[in-house]
C-alpha cells in the first residue's frame, strides 16, 4: 500500500516512544505528538527526497492510560488530557498533530477498535512491544471516509528538538 504522507521525527523522540512502550508493558502506553504540520514547515528545510506533505514531531507529551479496566489491550485519553496536551503544545508554538500508543504482543498495525475510534488528520503512531521489547513502529492516518487507515512513512531526522 502506498504511503501518502510523511512524518518526520528525530531519533531521540522515536526512542522515547519505544521506551514508553517498554516501560508500561504489558499495558499499553499513550501520549500526544507535539509538532508542526506541513504548512508551517518552510519548503527550504525539506530534504529533496522527502515525501510530501511532511509533518514534524518535535516533542512528546506522555500520558497515563486511563483504561484501568483493560489496559493490556486498550488505551484512553480523556478530553481533559487532550486540553492539557494542546495547552503544552501551544505554550511552545506547536500543536498536537497526533497520538502514539503501544500494542503489547501485537503487530504495529491499527485494529478495528483503533479505526472505529480514530479522528481524521491526526497521525497515529503505533509501536509493537513483544515480550517487553519494542519492535516495529508505524504511523497511520484515518482516511476521509473513515473506512480504513493509510500508512504514513516515518522519516527519522537528525536535528535537535525545540
Amino acid at each position: 500500500m502506498a504511503e501518502t504522507s510523511a512524518l518526520w521525527i528525530n531519533g531521540p523522540i522515536a526512542e522515547q516512544i519505544r521506551a514508553h512502550g517498554a516501560e508500561t508493558y504489558p499495558h499499553e502506553c499513550c501520549g500526544a505528538l507535539l509538532g508542526r504540520d506541513s504548512t508551517a514547515v518552510p519548503e527550504i528545510n525539506r530534504g529533496k527526497d522527502a515525501l510530501a506533505p511532511a509533518r514534524e514531531i518535535l516533542q512528546l507529551f506522555p500520558l497515563v492510560n486511563r483504561r484501568d479496566d483493560s489496559p493490556r489491550n486498550r488505551f484512553s485519553v480523556t478530553a481533559q488530557d487532550v486540553l492539557e496536551a494542546e495547552k503544552a503544545a501551544g505554550a511552545q508554538g506547536l500543536e498536537v498533530v497526533g497520538w502514539y500508543h503501544s500494542h503489547p504482543d501485537h503487530p504495529a498495525r491499527p485494529s478495528e477498535y483503533d479505526r472505529d475510534h480514530a479522528w481524521p488528520w491526526y497521525s497515529y503512531i503505533i509501536v509493537s512491544v513483544q515480550n517487553g521489547a519494542p519492535q516495529d513502529m508505524t504511523s497511520w492516518r484515518l482516511n476521509d471516509d473513515r473506512a480504513e487507515f493509510s500508512p504514513e512513512g516515518i522519516e527519522i531526522r537528525h536535528r535537535a528538538a525545540v
Binding site: 487532550v82 498495525r109 485494529s111 480514530a118
Partner: protein, 111 residues
C-alpha cells in the same frame, strides 16, 4: 450575538480550515445541525450512522460538558461558546486486527 462553535484541529480540513463558526441556535443540537449542514463532510466524524454523537466526541457549552446537562437538548443563549473536544482511544484488542487489511494473518484478541 450568535452562538460560536469551536472546531478542533482534526476537523478543520472539513470546515474550510476554519477554527470556529457562528450560528443562531437555541440548543446544542441545533448549532451542531447548522454546522454539519454548512460543512457536510463533518457529519460522519461527529455522528454515527444513526445520528448519535460519537462516543469520543465531547461537547461543552462554555465549560460544561453537555453529558451532564441536557445533552444535545442543552439550551444555548447568544454569546455562548460550544467547544468540540476530542477524546482519544484505541488498542490492539479488537476481535480481529485490521492487519488482515494489509495482508497479514488474522489475530484473535487475548481476551
Amino acid at each position: 450575538m450568535p452562538v460560536k462553535v469551536m472546531i478542533p484541529s482534526p476537523l478543520r480540513p472539513y470546515a474550510g480550515k476554519r477554527d470556529s463558526a457562528e450560528f443562531s441556535a437555541r440548543t446544542v443540537g441545533e448549532a451542531l445541525g447548522h454546522l454539519t449542514t454548512e460543512f457536510g463532510e463533518l457529519r460522519k466524524h461527529l455522528f454515527t450512522e444513526d445520528g448519535k454523537l460519537r462516543s469520543f466526541v465531547n461537547v461543552y457549552v462554555n465549560d460544561e460538558d453537555i453529558r451532564y446537562l441536557a445533552k444535545e437538548n442543552t439550551p444555548t443563549k447568544d454569546g455562548d461558546t460550544i467547544s468540540i473536544i476530542p477524546s482519544i482511544a484505541g488498542g490492539c484488542g479488537s476481535l480481529y486486527c485490521s492487519c488482515r487489511l494489509y495482508g497479514m494473518t488474522n489475530e484473535r484478541a487475548r481476551d
